[in-house]
Amino acid sequence: MSTSVTKLAYYPGCAGATHAVDQEMSTKAVFEQLGIELIEMEDWNCCGAAEAEDPNMVYALNARNLVIAEKEGLNVATPCSICFYNLARTDKALKEDENLRKKMRDMDPSLDYKGTINAKHTLDILVNDVGLDEIGKKIKKKVAVKVAPYYGCYLERPSEIGFDNPERPELMDKIVELAGGTPIPFRQMRIRCCGGPLMMTRGDLAFEMSKRVLEAAKKEGADCIITACPLCHMMLDAKQPDIEEFFNITIGMPVLYFSQLLGLALGVEPKKLALNKNIVSTKEIEEKVI
């Protein structure tokens, strides 16, 4: 299947288009190394994130996005877990339900999705479509670090939408091994929510949830955490100093996007992977690239 992925409709999501510049840059660098063209979708709109409560709102917003990619005849790739969940559940619902398709079509012609494409997370595309063997041929360096693979939500559950094992996801572990690192067990924590959707309304709960993830990684001796979602990254990396201050603790745990880790193994310059933009210094990780 590896040879068939050459061009994808890229959906950055609102975070990718703004503060998640590190994810954006590293994702683009990795796909460039693999010779896969990411073409940003023309005039894409927000997926509704975790704030659109009505499923019909999610379906309508993402029907518009899917139609934009469908017109180009390209499958959608997104590096954000929440965008993936909303795009993929819309794709599934519309493919299965003719009445829903009609409802969308009647709302506006721009929502007339025929269901000829699919929408996937970049992690799924890399491991399952491009394939580990194919990526393995292009690995140039060994990133000899112990990594806590943090999956959070949506990549693996709910399982009719997710693409990894819902109780013990493993695709990021495979990326770590391919890069020459060692994934730590990270048991139940790998699938625990970071609390991100509660940050603005119940910050106390969100901080407690992220603290537990960070402390578990530290306790198990990880050199860094990797994640595949800009909200998880915001909580664990950008807000890590706030969490330390709030609980009066010291953590100092680097948090990389999996695309940054993979990029290092593919021999991409750290700066091109925006590692200098991570809040918690990644210097010690970069020093272990051999």
């Binding site: 510049v21 709109n45 559950r157 709910p158 625990r192 309304t201 100093p241």
Partner: protein, 198 residues
């Protein structure tokens, strides 16, 4: 907790079941796998999705709709994934929140949580620009919660100065992010909002 039969609304469960996301609520047989799996319940033992569902099925409408618990769900889908009855608890909670917002608009209940205010402010950005606009979102949300521009600015300064500086220094908040990223065909998105409502 005592339950007064004359205060129960037998129609409430049907209302939730007919709200998008709430369809499967009546499948619940109270096994509590949801609560046992819930990361919020693990932190705050007052939070109990199993109980919220039971109260809904019993018809304890006002207690459920004005409770803080329905706004504490992080939508992480752990309960949905593990539920042996396919109740889809994350979605059911969302349906209950939708009912609560409608009842609050009618003045029938009071919502103490600030979350519906945040969600509305978030959706307003999408309606206006087609994308999320963080500064606009934060301004609108803080002004609503802190009731006025000056106190909103003071609260924002307190909450965001450190994070903002951190992001700015690392080049994660380019100057361009001060302005919204507006899509071209906002009319298409506005039409969605007009048809579905926020």
């Amino acid at each position: 907790m005592s339950v007064n039969a004359w205060e129960l609304d037998p129609e409430f469960k049907y209302k939730v079941a007919s709200t998008p996301g709430g369809e499967n609520i009546m499948r619940c047989f109270q096994c509590s796998t949801c609560t046992a799996s819930c990361p919020i319940a693990d932190i705050d033992s007052n939070y109990n999705p199993r109980k919220t569902i039971r109260m809904t099925l019993l018809g304890m409408k006002n207690k459920v709709l004005s409770s803080d618990e329905i706004w504490m769900c992080a939508i992480c889908q752990m309960c949905t994934e593990r539920c042996p009855q396919d109740v889809r608890i994350s979605d059911v909670m969302g349906a209950i929140r939708q009912v609560a917002e409608k009842e609050a608009e009618k003045g029938n209940i009071d919502i103490k949580s600030v979350r519906p205010t945040f969600e509305k402010a978030f959706m307003h950005q999408i309606e206006k620009y087609g994308r999320s606009y963080e500064i606009g979102l934060t301004m609108e949300y803080y002004q609503k919660v802190h009731k006025g521009f000056v106190s909103a600015m003071m609260a924002m300064q307190k909450d965001y100065t450190k994070l903002g500086m951190r992001l700015f220094k690392k080049g994660k908040m380019p100057v361009t992010s001060v302005l919204p990223e507006k899509i071209k065909r906002t009319d298409e998105v506005k039409k969605i909002f007009k048809s579905i409502g926020d």
